[in-house]
Amino acid sequence: MENESATPRQRYDEAMAASSMRDAQFTTMSGIPLESVYGPDDGDFPGQYPYTRGPYASMYRSKPWTMRMFAGFGTAEDTNWRFKEIIRAGGGGLSTAFDMPTLLGLDSDDPMALGEVGRCGVAVDTLADMEDLYRDIDLGEVTTSMTINSPAAVILSMYIAQAEKAGVPRSRLGGTLQNDILKEYQAQKEFVFPPRQSMRLVRDSIAFTAAEMPRWHSVSISGYHIREAGSTAVEELAFTLANGFAYVELALQAGLPIDAFAPRLSFFFNAHIDFFEEIAKYRAARRIWARWMKDRYGATDPRSMQCRFHAQTAGVSLTAQQPEINIARTAIEAMAAVLGGTQSLHTNSMDEALALPTEKAARIALRTQQVIAHETNVAHVADPLGGSHFVEALTDEVERQAEEIFAKIAEFGDGSMLEGTIRGIEENWFQGRIADSAFELERALNDGRRITVGVNAFTEGNEEDQIPLLRITNEDEQRQRKRLADVRGRRDQAAVDAVLAELATQATDPEINLMPTLIAAAEAYASVGEIMSTLGGVFGRHVEVPTI
């Protein structure tokens, strides 16, 4: 426990004395020694409530951010090869991109999957694909992040089944499931079931991982897609944290004590091109989360109050014109995320406005992070911009505007953030605000109030740029369909039918946690599409009312 009578500086010094330090010279290039943080002794310190300056006292002095590069394409075998490359190249964690059919809970042989199998990520149909995806990777050591939402509970079940078959018990598995369904309705639009039924699956996975998987992050509450869909920085922050409050209220309603699950919630923010606004956004996120968790939800464990996040540079900031300029954009955005105290980071590749990245482009993106980590010395001092008049004022203003949005959402829900977010979705409020902001930005670009280099200014050279692009052929689609047919031919069909029938029965009773039966279905080699359509038979389907 923290010593209440000590000054903030004394408490900080105690926390630092108890922290492990990595082996590095914490000086400038010319040898000037650097303190681990700067500021008045009675001021804010990292690792102390409300955590504006960082969740941990030592920040990057103990451990730099994790360079977590998102990858996935083609079949599971292809992606397994890319994963091993990432580990060899010094990437600290894996991040799995699934293809669109998988994201929407469809099998690779579904007619709607045509043209999409293995295109924007890896195709996973059954446990056999998960086995190939993580083959010869020690899942007790490497942490994995899986970007999956509507079928998140299904994919988590397959991950557990696959790891346990390989001899790693679920209790040792570390990683993150995105599992953030609310932002799907608001922004990313990869939804399957209606919101309330989807939230039941989120509740089940939060409760299950809280009980059985102490190293697992059950939900990665994601603003990234909200921003990519066109929101402002403040909207990204406010909608994301509001969604976080909704998941907290969901788990509290299910009877979980706040400190039993809140430490395993994490966040995922965009790192966009407006440098200081992004840094202010991250600082405000930590402060707001800490205050709400403590004051409104009664958390007492500091870990419940610490907003930890992953960041990814902004895909929408990349241009198809003169794509090499994107390396500079990405470096600036990555720097904002680091100065803002991110726990992990993905840097986009220069060619991603055109196609999935080539291996070389992805390597340059990783190298960009390594330059920041190892050459610039910016990781020596926590929250290096804390105390700047500008950054502190901007942090306060971002927080103030976010609180205005929370008040509106609470109003929708008659005081409940859970109801407020769901009603806001059902009434297209979030979707409308995001579309308005996207259009406003487009108009600003169009009438020259905003400049994008190579697009509406400085276009000399646009004609001469040709960089090699990754081409994905339809052969992957054929191969994946064949793999699925093989698995269907080999498995015990009676066992599959039995477990799916049991799942359908359990789905009708909202009191039942579906995770154990989902794991049994994975072990029987039931496919993602079969499991999701079984659940869909009970839950129904979500249809968005098209609005411009």
Binding site: M100, M112, G115, E116, V316, P546, I548
Partner: protein
């Protein structure tokens, strides 16, 4: 020249709808009547909607890379209904795919960075029956 009807559509599984909504508003502000299909359409549902709504052109918004599979199917589905409604593709289309899309009957392709003026001009050009440039 106002009052022409454009169907904007998202076909396939790609849920990225930022572009389609922005383009829909640009076209609406330029005086077109714009109908949006919503997400997760098939080539068949797009062609059927285009005929039902009696539109003058179809705009397909594609981000995921599935344009080479899906855009030609939309053209075929439209032609199979015995109508000649031009199909315009907008989105992340690499240069090396342009010729094949043109050969498949796509009337125009608008790529990232196209200005509002360019989008409106291309749609007008297609409606006037001019051949594909670029």
């Amino acid at each position: 020249m106002s009052g022409e009807r454009i169907l904007v559509a998202k076909v396939g599984l790609d849920g990225h709808d930022r572009g389609v909504k922005v383009v829909a508003r640009i076209l609406r502000d330029a005086g077109f009547e714009v109908v949006y299909t919503g997400l997760f359409q098939t080539p068949e549902t797009v062609a059927a909607a285009a005929v039902d709504e009696d539109v003058d052109a179809i705009g397909l918004s594609m981000l995921s890379g599935a344009h080479m599979t899906l855009a030609p199917l939309v053209v075929q589905a439209v032609r199979a209904r015995g109508v000649d409604i031009p199909v315009i593709v907008g989105g992340t289309v690499p240069d090396h795919d342009l010729q094949e899309l043109s050969d498949a009957g796509v009337a125009a392709v608008l790529t990232p960075g196209a200005t509002a003026e360019k989008i409106v001009a291309e749609v007008r050009r297609v409606l006037d029956g001019a051949p594909m440039t670029s």
